[in-house]
Subunit: 370 residues, 2 copies
DNA sequence: TTGTAAGCGTTATCAA
DNA sequence: TTGATAACGCTTACAA
């Protein structure tokens, strides 16, 4: 068993350069050597500059730039126990506000010196869990999730490892401080109330599967609860569950419209479904909102540009992303958030919603799709 | 100076548990101790199982599962010099095929045990460079870029560090083996030829800024070259440059249509611009394709569902993502790719394109927008 | 303000 | 097939 002997002898410690990471062959030691100081000093110069004399600090900076040295994140993570890395798992990147939020998260993290690890669950809890495990392996300092419904082992896993995590795109007053987003239930209560006040009583819902999607579930519950307050309910044949494509929206729209009695208002659970519904209505010659009102969820750009602009719930994806990033960083840093975590989900009223057809002088209903 | 003394004495080496990474307090050593073997053996059991006796391998696996140990990526990266991590910088996640491709990359990387670091450049070369430097710091094993136009220092930076990198969403026969994607120039030559053969001679183009976007530049050049072959050119007032929103598409459509003579065919440089153009045409009562043909780029779902389905260039984003992932992994592993790197960009003809209005019996042109 | 040297949790090189 | 142990490149007490 021999001693470490490292600074002691200028031994055959490092040749021209091993590969390793950053710049092949240039490490902290080389910088230190070039400047003529110890590695500790160089390290301090980057991490706590105020503690190093100005003159030295500048000399060090010059050499670092000159050599093009970049600190090795792995080594740094190993010693500090922090990777300066946050993992986020989204259901998908191709839907609604997710890309916007991902972008915002990434931007804020970068500004704070953090890097985002991004993964998709494809609405599969197993896959989500797998991604999170991978993140843990990569040593992320925190995890951003979407929604509250996860693999049963996921939360215990995170807790056991003392990994801070938050849920985004949801707000649940029961879990303050760990959620950022809108209250999905409340948002759809409002939307439903809005339609009910317009006079609608026959509601149809076309939405995503709620199995592994608590947000979709909360929205559906919001509709039901708001209707129940008025003694109303969605007829079974007026409830159509599917995926999140325009194609699907067309299909489900057709499905709920081919019923008797027809609904007078259709609430769509996500943006593509709403787009599909609007487009299918146009294709079938169903007038919106004269024959039927259609409302959506998520105010993506197309919503306001369709031939019939769509009344929808505006979820501030950008804001949610920013707050999610701030919150997880605060949690990682052991700080208490002092900003609002619930995002207002605003109802944006556009041309696609109006009073039901039977309103006022009982006008004969058209059946252009028949 | 003292000796390492580690296995020698069961010294006060590790208490109940430091924080560090993975599971607080359980490391490779703990597993080894629990099984009653050396750390080396446990390490081998995970990395080269075939070299460890079956009996032992199983015992080790059991203990690992039991203790919930997850190898520390930082430590692993430090010793191996590989982080099992790939960085990708996209211009944005909210446009065309990027989300799809990102998704595909991520999926393939995960399947190979890699993790994706994702960042956005927002079409800013400075920001792209910054992101790449961050990646280098994190020790990524390879980098996926979009396009060929970058910050002048970017490629030298990558090369100096011997970091493998590829360009996606482009194909340039001059740089075989480092690009995956469609030949943007060729795609628009084809599209332009298609329109020219329909009889069009007055072309308008509404497209993105080409400053930091070689792909947009290549597409524009494709249009110009194809026209030049026929002795044609885009009139200055028929060239409108902007961003990538539906709103912008409407505006630019209006702009090029408010000219005299009007174009008979409008080529849009990206999907939102095309959507905007189609929608604005509808709003203005301009008939498509009777009054004007409109074609786009990127076959996102909405393209085929608009009131007038859009003729467009279908870029196989999923395929590009998958190939990008394979290619960068092959480069990292020192393998030669044996699969095609150029993706066919197919022209999908839909209702938005047809012969120019003046064709055949010189019919009087309508000016419904006037 | 700077230097010394002990780790951080793995992998990998020898030997056994 | 397994074990002992020296790195890996950095940060951080502790000393000076």
């Amino acid at each position: 068993m021999k001693t470490m002997g490292e600074g002691a002898n200028g031994a055959p410690r490092r040749g021209a350069g091993r590969n390793g990471m950053a710049v092949p062959g240039v490490g902290l030691r080389d910088v230190a050597q070039a400047v003529g100081v110890s590695t500790a000093t160089v390290s301090r110069a980057i991490n706590r500059p105020e503690v190093v004399s100005v003159e030295l600090r500048e000399r060090i900076a010059a050499v670092i730039a000159d050599l093009g040295w970049i600190p090795d994140g792995a080594a740094r993570a190993l010693t500090t126990g922090r990777s300066q890395t946050i993992g986020a798992v989204f259901p998908t990147l191709g839907l609604g506000d997710f890309p916007r939020a991902a972008n915002a998260i990434q931007r804020h993290l970068l500004a704070q010196g953090y890097t985002l690890l991004l993964a998709c669950s494809e609405y599969d809890p197993e896959q989500e869990f797998r991604q999170v495990r991978k993140f843990a392996e990569r040593g992320v300092d925190g995890v951003i999730l979407v929604g509250l419904a996860h693999h049963p082992d996921l939360v215990p896993f995170l807790q056991q490892r003392k990994l801070p995590f938050i849920s985004s795109f949801v707000f649940d007053s029961a879990r303050p401080g760990r959620c950022v987003g809108p209250d999905n239930h409340k948002a759809l209560v409002r939307m439903t109330d809005y339609l009910a006040e317009l006079g609608h009583v026959r509601f149809a819902v076309i939405a995503q599967e709620t199995e592994n999607n608590d947000r979709a579930g909360a929205r559906l519950a919001g509709i039901r609860d708001a209707l129940a307050m008025r003694g109303l309910a969605v007829r079974p044949q007026h409830l159509a569950i599917g995926t999140w494509t325009i194609e699907e929206g067309r299909k489900l729209f057709a499905q709920v419209m081919d019923t008797d009695p027809r609904p007078t208002a259709i609430v769509c659970g996500n943006a593509p479904l709403a787009v599909g519904a609007i487009l299918e209505a146009a294709a079938r010659g169903v007038r919106v909102p004269e024959d039927v009102s259609i409302v959506g969820y998520d105010d993506i750009e197309i919503m306001s540009h369709l031939p019939v602009p769509v009344t929808t719930v505006r979820v501030p994806g950008e804001e949610i992303g920013l707050r999610a990033a701030r919150l997880i960083l605060d949690l990682v840093g052991g700080r208490e958030p002092d900003y609002p975590l619930e995002s207002e989900a605003e109802i944006v009223v556009r041309a696609s919603s109006g009073p039901p057809p039977g309103e006022g002088p009982a006008s004969p209903r058209l059946h252009p799709a028949g």
